[in-house]
Each structure stands twice: as structure tokens, then as C-alpha cells.
């Protein structure tokens, strides 16, 4: 009944690093254009266990649709066992997308924590070659959360990494990398996705310097299309759905 319900074929499903997987899917029939920030809602098993679909931000979209995920529970555990050639029932693309950087912006700062970096990759694919100075600040807890960032580099991003245990890049949280931000209220724009405390810290930094930006949020979801109202998030203008009003919000709407 939904035109967004499609069959995708698994092309590849490999470990990207110790903790993350990289899933590459091919839609069996035509799907709408995927914009950076949008997500796909995957039924990981044909049965009722688990019952919910699992939402994943799209990391890259072209002929194939790619996601980056971490095994955190039974849904992602089952997903990690999918082999090339298997088919998946997918809703998508769903949700809104990142805005273009406002006029006058020269430095685009992407701040990702863990697999939250995924939609930022899709964003860098779209923003590359448009004359922005692009910076990616990436934070992981441990070495197993870091992976080769060459796709960001190829897209023209300067990449800086911090790990909490200091195994890769600077030791500490991603806020140790804020010195790389020019923080000019008119010329800087921030996009962030990651754990909530990290995004709260980014929001505090942005507010302090008068910099604008957007956050991509995550909540447990059932329908993915704005019907069940289960993924409500508190915003400055009341409850909104992460799946349909979001997942991308103005940074000041949420924090």
C-alpha cells in the first residue's frame, strides 16, 4: 500500500572496522532520489522477531544504497549475518534531509560520533566541489570505532579524529577538535550526528559562537512514516516525529 515499500538485494555486507559494518544494497526496482540525511527502514527478518523495522541513515546513494551500522542489539545482529544475494523488505527513502549551507557560508563543519558519521558522508558527496572548505571532526570511543576516512578525504574534507582512549588521533572526546572550527557566525555552518550528549556539546559550542547548524536525530521507531507518533522528540515548538518531521532539525530546535 506504500509506494516507498521496495525490495532491495544485498550486494555486500562486510566489516568496515572492528565495530562497524558496511551494507551495500541494490533496489530491485526504481526508488526516489535519496537526499543526504534521509534514511531507509529495513525489515531485518521475515518473521516477528524482531517485530520492528530498523532505521538507518543512508551513507551513500547512487545506483546502490549504502549504510554504516554498529551491532547493538538483536536487529543489527541479524542484519550483520545477511549475505550477498539475500533480499530485504525496505521502506524508503524516508524523512527530511540536510539543508544546503546558507548563503555566505564558507566553512562547512561536519561533526560525527560513531556510526552517526554515516549521513555526513552522504552530505559530503553532495557538497564536494562546490567551493566550501569542508572539515570532518570524528569522535569514536575506541580504535574499533575508527575506520579509513578516505572517502571523506576524496570529497575534499579535512578529517580530524579523536578517540576517548587515545588509540587513534587526539585523546579525548570530539570537543577536543573544536579548535579546527573557525566559528564565524556568518561563514560557518555545522552539521552533526551522533550520540545525544555529543550533539548537545556541539549545540552549546554553536550557540556560544552564534554559529548555525543542523542535527540528525535518532529515536526508536515503529512506522517510519509519521503515523504512530512513537518516535516523538521534544523540540522548542512541541513534540515532533523524528521519522517524518526529522530526522534533521535545526540545532537550536532540539538543544
Amino acid at each position: 500500500m506504500q509506494k516507498v515499500q521496495k525490495i532491495y538485494k544485498v550486494i555486500n555486507n562486510k566489516k568496515l572496522c572492528q565495530q562497524f559494518f558496511h551494507l551495500c544494497l541494490k533496489p530491485v526496482s526504481a526508488i526516489p532520489e535519496i537526499k543526504p540525511g534521509q534514511f531507509i527502514h529495513i525489515k531485518v527478518s521475515q518473521g516477528l522477531e524482531p517485530v520492528f523495522r530498523r532505521p538507518f541513515s543512508v551513507a551513500r546513494a547512487g545506483k546502490n544504497v549504502e549504510v554504516i551500522y554498529e551491532v547493538v542489539g538483536k536487529g543489527t545482529e541479524i542484519l550483520s549475518q545477511k549475505k550477498p544475494g539475500e533480499i530485504l523488505d525496505v521502506l524508503g527513502p524516508l524523512g527530511n534531509s540536510f539543508c544546503k549551507p546558507p548563503k555566505g557560508v564558507k566553512q562547512v563543519v561536519m561533526i560525527g560520533g560513531g556510526v552517526g558519521v554515516a549521513p555526513l558522508l552522504a552530505l559530503s558527496d553532495v557538497l564536494k566541489g562546490r567551493g566550501y572548505e569542508m572539515v570532518l571532526l570524528y569522535g569514536g570511543r575506541i580504535k574499533g570505532h575508527t575506520f579509513n576516512m578516505r572517502t571523506f578525504c576524496k570529497n575534499g574534507c579535512k578529517v580530524y579524529v579523536a578517540t576517548e582512549d587515545g588509540s587513534v588521533g587526539i585523546k579525548g572526546r570530539v570537543d577536543k577538535l573544536y579548535t579546527k572550527i573557525k566559528a564565524n557566525a556568518k561563514e560557518t555552518f555545522i552539521y552533526t550526528c551522533g550520540p545525544r550528549p555529543m550533539m548537545a556539546s556541539v549545540a552549546a559550542f554553536a550557540r556560544k559562537h552564534g554559529v548555525q547548524g543542523q542535527v540528525s536525530c535518532e529515536e526508536v521507531m515503529a512506522c517510519g512514516v509519521g503515523t504512530c507518533l512513537g518516535c516523538a522528540i521534544e523540540t522548542r515548538s512541541g513534540y515532533k516525529t523524528v521519522c517524518d518531521d526529522g530526522p534533521v532539525f535545526d540545532i537550536n530546535e532540539i538543544f
Binding site: K3, V51, E219, V220, A222, C223, G226, T227, G230
Partner: protein, 301 residues
């Protein structure tokens, strides 16, 4: 093959509908040609005034089901009538509007508002939402059920369906009270009261502390309740509770339900309602049943 069902004076083209709060039809996501194949559409419950809903988290996945405590977030009756009704009317599918209120007075005001809307298929009185911080639900008390249904029925221009709760000792008492008060039909079941606790934090998972359980996990419970009520009342029953497939739906029809609604499974498999409809037709062809009335309540005991 005759699939049509009558509730009060309203005729529904087929017995498959959707449970309140589980179905959207935004054009960007849905194929409207498919939506038009439904026997009825039931939007999310509307209250007299806007309600902002419960604090998150509002949902939690459980084995073959989910807990929810949304808290009937909605824009209120006036906004619904102005902004949503015209769009629903375009679909030309019978519309069953689900309404809820905290008092008899509010219910009456709601009815009066909807009396002004032409062409409604029916009004479903949600007497059984477990997420509104009330000690007792209307549908847990036969007297209160009787009083509200009677007051509404006296004024309503459209058929009235009472949506009942499974959280009762004896469903037949409530079902009979609703029938006696003049209800044209019953919807059952609403969600079962439930909860979940995060053992790491020792806090309830849901922002509302408790919630309602739905999905395939509750189906046998729903079937038993529908079966028991159908033994006692003569008004049509719209059955819901974990229906995912045509086989599930057929169980309810055989137990005595006149219509079946897909609820939670709309979130998981948006094609479920039409798969259910196709499966019912296939079963009737195979069983050489020409009229759905011959299937309804055909249980052999």
C-alpha cells in the same frame, strides 16, 4: 461474492479496515489507489481539544509486539474537521472517526461537532485508551459504558461503535451494556495494559511508566474476547488485536467478528490490510462461500 457489511445504516464495501492510530495515508508515502480498496478508514483518535501526548520514550519493542504510550497526541476536533476531513472525503472510503473524551459533557460536544460533518460512516467511541492517567477506563465499568453510549447515541446522526478494553474481568458485561445503550457496533480490543523496565537504570522504559501492548503477541487474547462477546451480543463487531495475515483475520471472522482491522502490523508491513483482503477472498472462493455473512460466526464447536 458479497463482502459488504452493514453497521447501523452504513454499508462498508468489504470487512477489512485499519485500527485507530496505526494508519496514515500521506500521498508522499501511500498509493491512494490501494488505500481506496479498504472497507473503511479509521484515523487516530480525536479529542475535543488538542493534546500534546505523552513524554518520550513512547514505544518499546516486545516479543512479537510493542508497548505504546502515545497519549492520543492530536490537534483537536475543530482542526481535524477543517483540515483532515476534506482530504479523507476525497478517498471515497467510508470513514469511521475515532473520538475520546474525559467526560460525558465532552463526548456530547464532540458528537455535536461531528453531527455537522456530512457523510461520516460511523463514530467510534474510544472508551478504552489505557494511556490517559485515569484510574478507571469507561470501558471497565458497565454502568459508565452504558451511560456514555446512551448519551451519545441519543444525539448522534451517525452509527456509534464502542471501542472496548481487554483489561476487564468479564467482557460480556461491558459488551452487553454497550448494546443495551444502543451501540450500533463494537470495536475490540484496545491494547492490554503493560510495562517494561530498563534494568540498568531501574527506570520504566516508557515516559508514561505504563503503556498498552499490541501486535501479534496479543492475538489469542483478542480472539477469545471477540469470541466471548460475539456469543452474547447481536451487533456487529470490528475485531483487532495483532492481525497480520488473512489467516489471522479469518479466525476473527469465524469467531463472530463482522469486520477486521489491521493495527500494529501496519507499521511493519504496510501491505498487510490488502494482503488480508485478498486472502479472505481467496479463502471464500476455495470454501465456496458467496456471502461473507455465511463466514461470520461460522465456528464449529
Amino acid at each position: 461474492m458479497n463482502l459488504s457489511i452493514k453497521i447501523g445504516k452504513t454499508k462498508f464495501p468489504n470487512p477489512v479496515t485499519v485500527a485507530s492510530g496505526t494508519f496514515g495515508w500521506k500521498e508522499k508515502y501511500y498509493r491512494l489507489a490501494d488505500v481506496k480498496k479498504l472497507g473503511a478508514i479509521v484515523p487516530k483518535t480525536i479529542t475535543l481539544h488538542a493534546q500534546k501526548g505523552n513524554p518520550p520514550p513512547r514505544i518499546h519493542e516486545t516479543p512479537a509486539g510493542m508497548l505504546n504510550a502515545i497519549g492520543i497526541e492530536n490537534a483537536g476536533a475543530d482542526a481535524f474537521i477543517q483540515e483532515k476531513i476534506p482530504m479523507y472525503k476525497k478517498l471515497k472510503v467510508p470513514l469511521i472517526v475515532s473520538v475520546s473524551a474525559h467526560s460525558e459533557k465532552d463526548f456530547i460536544q464532540l458528537i455535536e461537532k461531528f453531527n455537522g460533518v456530512k457523510g461520516l460512516g460511523a463514530l467510534e467511541l474510544n472508551l478504552s485508551c489505557p494511556n490517559l492517567k485515569k484510574k478507571t477506563l469507561v470501558a471497565q465499568d458497565p454502568k459508565a459504558t452504558h451511560r456514555i453510549v446512551k448519551a451519545v447515541k441519543k444525539r448522534a446522526k451517525m452509527p456509534i461503535i464502542a471501542k472496548l478494553s481487554p483489561n476487564v474481568t468479564d467482557i460480556t458485561k461491558i459488551a452487553e451494556a454497550a448494546e443495551d445503550a444502543g451501540a450500533d457496533g463494537l470495536s475490540m480490543i484496545n491494547t492490554l495494559a503493560g510495562m517494561a523496565i530498563d534494568v540498568k537504570t531501574r527506570k520504566p522504559v516508557l515516559g508514561n511508566v505504563t503503556g498498552g501492548l499490541s501486535g501479534p503477541a496479543v492475538r489469542p487474547v483478542a480472539l477469545n474476547i471477540v469470541y466471548r462477546a460475539a456469543q452474547k451480543v447481536n451487533i456487529p463487531i470490528i475485531a483487532m488485536g495483532g492481525i497480520a495475515t488473512a489467516n489471522d483475520a479469518l479466525e476473527f471472522l469465524i469467531a463472530g467478528a463482522s469486520m477486521v482491522a489491521v493495527g500494529t502490523m501496519n507499521f511493519i508491513n504496510p501491505s498487510a490490510p490488502l494482503e488480508v483482503l485478498a486472502g479472505i477472498k481467496k479463502y471464500m472462493r476455495e470454501q465456496k462461500i458467496k456471502d461473507i455473512q455465511k463466514l461470520i460466526g461460522s465456528i464449529r464447536t
